[in-house]
Symmetry: C2
Subunit: 283 residues, 2 copies
């Protein structure tokens, strides 16, 4: 479906170019949007490492690029940034826009199995497989050097996609991730809606469950969490960290007094995250 | 009217605090919103210099703080940032929301003389006099050290407020300012609407006219302009620069090929602007 690829608009920023794109997704069976920042180094290097950012509930492909301040550091360090939309949209599924925490804007990076969501909501396969293939076809991306990070629902997505694919992503980080969704209200609603009420398959999309069943070493992980985050009860990062520490995974977990769940929190620590990934992508 | 001052929400970011505030404005005779970033240095220094940012058409007090990436550098350099809303809103004036380039979101930093706009649209006095008094009362601000900058309509506002008040602002900068509004469509519409069709008083709010009639040296001025800006015909920065150069004003004018009018342009050069102002505010 590469021939459906379209650049909708572009902006030069920090000497590189930010593209807002759409294409027809084969796995979601609908048009999908994403944004890509290609730094200036692309004019010299043929292939640059790629850092994927997965956004949180209600976000589109724009929030991260507009608010996080990430391009500054991607430009300095020569990384391509990719931020997909958080779900299929305008699919015609009844009730798609009824809730802010399920359906449109809330794909939870899950391959849905429940009708009607399974017709379009295949965000796990989209992020892990289809989108990187498209990025490699359209941009100067080195698909052997990928890392992934995200915020809130997207932090959950980054941990899940990253931990399940040690061969695809070199490092994983998250801001305030939904780290044990089987154990929180937001998570249970999404897991039930997309996967059904039998919790057996939920563990495929629960970072804490994935970490506890890991048999090999995982990639390096960095997590930042604000302690004035009003959603702490939905996030439960400490449960994930406890499992990682028990399994001797390479995890850095930082708690920040006074910080909340907003992009003002993300912007404060984005430099640390991008430098963390760059160390693993440009060794 | 200090007792109407309210903090609506706040976010810790870059170790300082960003406040979204409202108050009842005496000169606009309605509630007005603004945002203030107070860096961590305020916990030690009693009074910090203040840098005002005036936003462009359609913006509120939020756009700059969310998108420009300015807090990073204000935190490093110990500056308070203040960003007012771009106009009174919900005043009850008929047609206030009818146009994107006049009325709500488009106050043009003018003290209107034309009925009904003169009842509320007194943005020049608001920015230059009322808001700094309120900031000094509510925040650890050193009102003897102020500078001003802005974008597009707000770049116009910064040049006008700055050049007319050499005693109040130490330095002036602008991203893609509407620099000769008497000579462009956007400017003529606003000047006619707020001041009437007789162009005599327009020169009070036209940076190029103000510069050409200056009898004393002005503050240092920095202007950045993208050459892929689709609004160049509305902005006319080169006319302002030509007058400044003829008057031997201390102006740095930089043109940037490939850059457009967006916040992605502002974010790229925000560090330069804040360092420029800091040199004059923290000499």
């Amino acid at each position: 479906m590469t021939d459906s690829f379209k650049i909708l608009k572009q902006h030069v920023t920090f000497e590189g170019t930010l593209y807002f794109c759409s294409h027809f997704s084969a796995c979601c069976r609908c048009p999908m949007n994403f944004s890509v920042y290609v730094p200036q180094q692309a004019s010299i290097a043929k292939h640059l490492p790629v850092l994927y950012f997965l956004s949180g509930l209600t976000c589109t492909e724009e929030n991260f690029m507009a608010k996080a301040g990430a391009q500054h550091y991607a430009a300095e360090l020569g990384l391509i940034l990719v931020a997909p939309d958080t779900s299929p949209r305008n699919t015609g599924i009844s009730g798609e826009d009824a809730a802010w925490d399920f359906g449109a804007g809330a794909g939870f990076y899950i391959d849905a199995t429940q009708d009607p969501w399974n017709q379009h909501f295949q965000m796990y396969s989209y992020v892990v497989e289809e989108l990187p293939t498209l990025i490699a076809a359209q941009f100067p991306a080195d698909t052997t050097r990928q890392s992934i990070f995200g915020h809130s629902m997207g932090g959950h997505g980054a941990l899940v996609c990253g931990l399940r694919n040690g061969d695809r992503y070199r490092s994983i980080s998250a801001f305030a991730p939904i780290a044990a969704p089987s154990q929180s209200e937001w998570g249970q609603k999404a897991l039930t809606g997309y996967l059904g009420s039998d919790p057996a398959p939920w563990s495929l999309y629960d970072a804490t469950a994935i970490a506890s069943s890991l048999v090999t070493a995982a990639q390096p992980i960095l997590i930042d969490q604000g302690l004035c985050d009003p959603y702490l009860a939905q996030l439960l990062p400490e449960r994930f960290v406890k499992v990682c520490q028990a399994k001797h995974l390479q995890i850095t977990y930082r708690e920040h007094p006074h910080y909340d769940h907003s992009y003002y929190f993300i912007a404060t620590f984005i430099e640390d995250h991008i430098r963390f990934h760059a160390r693993h992508l440009n060794p």
